[in-house]
Amino acid sequence: MEENNTSRFIPYDLIQKDLDGVISAEERLLLERWLSEDVENPKLYNEVRTLSDDLIVLEHYKNVDTNSQWDRFKQRLDRAPATDEATLPTPMKAIWKPWMKLVAAAVLLMIGLACYLNFDRWMGYEVQLYGSVEQEPILLPDSSVLVLHAGAEASFNKRTFNQQRIVALKKGKAFFDVKHGRTSSFVVELAHNYVRDIGTSFEVNLLAEDVEVLVKEGAVALSGSKGPSAKELILQKNEKGFFKKETASLSKATPDNLENEHKVAQKLSYTNERLDNICFDLTKRFQSNVIVVGDNLKARKLSMYFDGQSLNEIVQILSKTLNVKWKASKKGYSIYE
């Protein structure tokens, strides 16, 4: 007996002799010993036995003459009593093929998933809110007040709002005056982060992909991402928080900065002026530092016109125009590459 290319030794010759009924007593002992050596061996024995049977069946399969079988069967068919065709019920029930059931199951699965994902929208539980020029206050189910500025969009779930006070702000600027005395906190869900109310009224402004939060009363937490482990920046009354999506960074401006920032430019016009000169002028006018980092950046020239914008807005416009970054800190603003 030789071991072949399989990892497990199988005594094929002994099995074959056993199946043929020509195994000697000594060989049977060897075979039985092999069978008892491992629990897998009886399975292998049956596998070889089935294979041996299949080889016999194969011989018969190859010798089947279907045409002569049909000729003989025809005679039997002729002897069968004729049935009145009119009495036969027709048509036959349509045959379901396995692939049809698979497709039907897939379609049902898709419909089920679509129903699950859109349940709240289709049942009218998801309330969509749109801001108007009038900025009318919207009373939420917990008596909190939401004011959406023109162009702003928000939504909340009527069904789950009492358990989870979540308002999704999709775009624009919104003011929230949160009703307290509830166990659950009030959360404004944003695209990449959230604002969690700690006890207060506040304003959220979505600027392209960045976020500005101004606290009017109390305090809020502005997060740097989503999820329970998100880093939060606590903002007190009159403080303004910033979230920049590009760097996922959080920063805040103090009341002093804000005071300056709330000032708006009258009419400022710069023609082919170096950036550092513009920033120097802005620093003087708003009494808040506007620093340019990098000599190349300082030397870049541009022509700009401002009318009524805040310092924060001016810095953003400058950054966008030059395609550079900016950040706000306690000391003021920095523009850098």
């Binding site: 294979l51 069946v57 069968a80 049935t83 036959m92």
Partner: protein, 204 residues
Amino acid sequence: MSNDVELLKKIVHKDRDAFETIYKAYFCKLYTLSFRYLKDEAIAEELTNDVFMMLWENAGKLVINQSLGAYLSRSVINLSLTHLKKNQRLKDRNKNYLKDLNPADDADQTDHATLYESKLLMIESILEELPPQCRKIVLMSKYDKMKQQEIADQLGISIKTVKNHLTIAYDKIRVALAKREVYVLFLIGFLFFSLGLFVQFVII
């Protein structure tokens, strides 16, 4: 397969040509399936023809909820198993098959006859790929029912060589069949994975 539906409709109206087409398409594999259980040519032939006769006579009353191949396979298996139960001698000889199939499982969608036929064809192709001497020894052993010593004597080789050739042949067939099972499982897994991706894509 879709053609089967049309042919069955014609058989309901006693269309002999349609019946002949079905008979010739399925007889060989159904007979082979029956022979697998019974190991008796005459009985396997008779039972297979009984199934076709039943189809011819009752086509209009049959409610087939699976493919025709699966339905006929199940009919042949049930008839063969019923026959085995009545015949103790055959039952003892084939008891290892009886435990594998449940005769009451009429909802089975598997076309056992076609599956078994493909297995036999695969074994045949593996046999053809064996070295000539090896293949010859297997055929002498299985088809001519020759003992290992008789084969050795006729071919003028040692009995050890005969054993080696049988081992090689069995091993090759076993490994190839196992690979086929893995391939089928992989294919099924891949289909379900694709379906999952497709569903996700449609939803998103």
